[in-house]
């Protein structure tokens, strides 16, 4: 019988190396996967990781990596604070959707104004939309001790149906032949979040994300809030004695992650997605959970993890088109990343003991 025994002092170097080991293991296992599908594994791995960054068409892909990475990083930063404090917001996808819907609704109410205030108003509304959506599980947790994992997750489906109701109803483009889409924000200057430098992929959301990485870093390492967060995660009792109000913590952590997810949703709707549709949420809210853990819940780590995951998305499309690989194989490949991360994590923190009998 196999038993896991906690290591008294996990190696710090190994903890830091975990993500890199996980990526290497993914490359190796992925190589086997691709060769089992009859493709050259080295070529496939090269196309995923190398081509988007330094290959022939990298001038285009590099921008696309930023487009994919920005929402992942923005959401993951918000989640990381709660995760550190043991507050599990699994519903960032729902908050992302609500941010997009509420922000878009605020904008559409002003259509066709060309005022420079349209976009800021949308941004505030979107952020508030995500914030309030996340405060629902926070409230239920504080008031009734309802499990925030379940509540936040289930609210994702509520949010999705709300989105579907909005784009087929009040927010539907009146000139769009009844197709379930809002007006295009890309074609409405006052409300658009355009590419700031043509071909670079950089939009306002990318810039704000970069700024947030720095803010989060300072908050976590230099601010009392970061200290409380870390304390609450490591030793809830000590935190309580240290004057940390656990209810306040729940509200702040969920609210913060909801606000950032909502903001990411608004940038997405007005930028890369261009309009509200039922297909604008691409699962960023769920993938951001992987990004947060892959980045060790640390702002710099999250930045790198977000970029890495974005590379696998862009690279995944490259090998799909060039090697005619099925989409599922790319998804398996991306899933391996989380699997190996968790596996390596377990091995770093625990020792495996083989014992006879029970």
């Amino acid at each position: 019988m196999i038993r896991l025994e906690p290591r008294t002092e996990p190696s710090r170097a190994m903890i830091a190396l975990t993500p890199i080991l996980a990526v290497l293991a993914t490359m190796i296992a992925g190589g086997f996967l691709f060769s089992a599908l009859g493709k050259n594994p080295i070529e496939a791995i090269r196309m995923i990781f190398w081509d988007p960054v330094l290959g022939e068409h990298a001038f285009y892909y590099r921008g696309q990596i930023l487009v994919k990475a920005a929402p992942l990083i923005m959401i993951a930063l918000g989640l990381s604070f709660g995760f550190r404090a043991g507050i599990w917001n699994i519903g960032a996808e729902g908050q992302f959707i609500m941010g997009g819907v509420i922000g878009a609704a605020a904008g559409l109410a002003l259509y066709p104004s060309e005022s420079i205030f349209v976009f800021p108003i949308m941004l505030i509304a979107g952020t508030l939309g995500g914030l309030l959506w996340a405060l629902i599980p926070a409230y239920l947790k504080i008031k009734f001790n309802a499990n925030e994992i379940l509540v936040s997750l289930m609210l994702v489906y509520v949010a999705f149906n709300f989105l579907a109701g909005m784009v087929t109803g009040p927010l539907r483009d009146p000139d769009g032949f009844n197709f379930p889409e809002s007006r295009s924000f890309q074609q409405w200057d006052a409300a658009s979040n355009p590419e700031l430098i043509a071909g670079s992929g950089i939009h306002w959301g990318v810039l704000v994300t970069m700024g947030l990485v720095i803010v989060a870093y300072i908050l976590l390492t230099r601010h009392i809030f970061g200290f409380h967060i870390r304390l609450a995660g490591q030793s809830p009792r000590a935190a309580k004695f240290g004057g940390v109000n656990p209810n306040k913590m729940v509200a702040i952590c969920l609210g913060l992650s909801g606000a950032l997810a909502g903001m990411a949703g608004l940038y997405e709707v007005t930028g890369p997605a261009g309009k509200l549709t039922t297909t604008f949420p691409l699962g960023y809210g769920f993938t951001a959970i992987i990004v947060a853990f892959l980045g060790r819940l640390h702002p710099i780590g999250i930045l790198l993890a977000g970029l890495l995951l974005a590379v696998t998305y862009v690279g995944g499309d490259v090998i799909q088109a060039n090697l005619s690989l099925p989409k599922a194989s790319i998804q398996v490949f991306q899933g391996m990343l989380l699997f190996f991360l968790l596996a390596v994590d377990v091995l770093v923190h625990f020792r495996i003991r083989f014992k006879r009998g029970l």
Partner: protein, 357 residues
């Protein structure tokens, strides 16, 4: 000396042209699919069209495809990538690719784009779709005859004109042969999600439907119909293997002739932007073989209906037809024009429930 020079120049020219011809030997054609090619429905049939292009042109073409591409920002990247890799013609095969197709087409004026089921065109963007509603009339006719509970279940994807047109066409044809027929409609808000499609089928059966029609892409509903011992129709693809007993007939999308013709046009340099909307007559919509369960007289009348559509003597929407609220739409003998069909956003009289607004 002069002669030699001329000869050499001529030879160089020939070699040069030969080289160019070689470089242009292969026309690259890209396909973007909304579902997996193994959905055995919508995307599967588009992929059959792609394979037909490969078969028709052999070494002269190279096709690539990307499956399960979400409608929206990701699709723009996939199309751009195809254009960057040298595709000269790109088929984008779902409604939600409309704006991304237009955006990418602006950046690559030399690449031709073909967008399925949309309404926005450009100098290098054509649109194409099939008159699926003609097929709906034929299967609606069969369903009207075959239902014993007088209830037809309909799994609808999104409340867009194409889907509403299909519901109306099926209902009108069913009602024409069975005045008591009712239609139960479930909206699933997805093109491809076997889980949701199966749930919808189960819900419809619980509401008394004994025949299922669908406007979604997977054979999940067919599988449920087979399990529960009721009837269904193949959608987009024949789907016989998923419901050997349940399947009555099917509406099959046949994109191959169009894809081959458009690829040929790009090779010849004769490609022009346009809007194609072909039906049973042109072969873009096919009616699958009838099951033995359909009585001979119904088979005959369904065939007659189909022949009428091909001959142009029958139209799926022929008056008198009222809208759901009772206001007149088409007068006696009047047929619907394409403009109205393309923007249809109302149920015809007799259908219960409301279009989600």
């Amino acid at each position: 000396m002069k002669l030699l020079k001329t000869l050499m120049a001529g030879a160089a020219l020939v070699v040069g042209l030969g080289g160019m011809a070689h470089a242009q030997d292969k026309t690259k054609v890209g396909f973007v699919y909304v579902g997996p090619v193994g959905d055995f429905g919508w995307s599967y049939e588009h992929d059959q069209g792609r394979k037909a292009v490969e078969e028709a042109f052999g070494d002269k073409v190279e096709t690539t495809f990307v499956e399960s591409v979400p409608e929206g920002a990701d699709s723009e990247r996939v199309m751009t990538q195809m254009a960057l890799s040298g595709a000269k013609l790109i088929f984008t095969t779902s409604f939600g690719y409309m704006d991304p197709t237009i955006n990418v087409a602006k950046k690559f004026p030399d690449v031709k784009f073909e967008h399925a089921t949309g309404y926005k065109q450009a100098d290098n963007v054509s649109t194409y779709s099939a008159r699926f509603y003609e097929g709906r009339s034929v299967i609606g006719h069969i369903a009207g005859h075959m239902t014993e509970t007088d209830t037809i279940g309909y799994i609808a994807s999104f409340p867009i004109p194409e889907v509403i047109r299909g519901i109306n066409a099926s209902y009108l044809a069913a009602k024409a042969v069975n005045p008591d027929v009712k239609m139960k409609i479930v909206w699933v808000y997805t093109w491809f999600d076997p889980g949701k499609e199966a749930d919808a089928a189960t819900a419809l059966i619980e509401q008394g439907a004994d025949i299922i029609m669908q406007h979604t892409d997977s054979p999940a509903a067919m599988t449920i119909a087979e399990e529960k011992g009721i009837l269904a129709f193949g959608q987009a693809s024949d789907m016989k293997q998923f419901g050997p007993n349940a399947r009555l007939s099917s509406i099959i999308d046949n994109w191959a002739p169009y894809y081959i013709a458009r690829t040929q046009a790009v090779m010849d340099g004769t490609w022009e932007s346009g809007n194609t909307w072909d039906g049973i007559k042109e072969g873009m919509v096919e009616i699958g073989e009838f099951s033995d369960k359909i009585p001979a007289d119904v088979q005959a009348s369904a065939t007659a209906l189909k022949d009428g559509i091909v001959a142009g003597t029958t139209h799926s929407f022929t008056g008198p037809i009222n809208k759901q609220d009772g206001t007149p739409w088409l007068a006696e003998g009047e047929t619907a024009d394409d403009g109205t069909l393309a923007t249809m956003n109302f149920y015809v009289e007799g259908i219960e429930g409301e279009i989600p607004q």
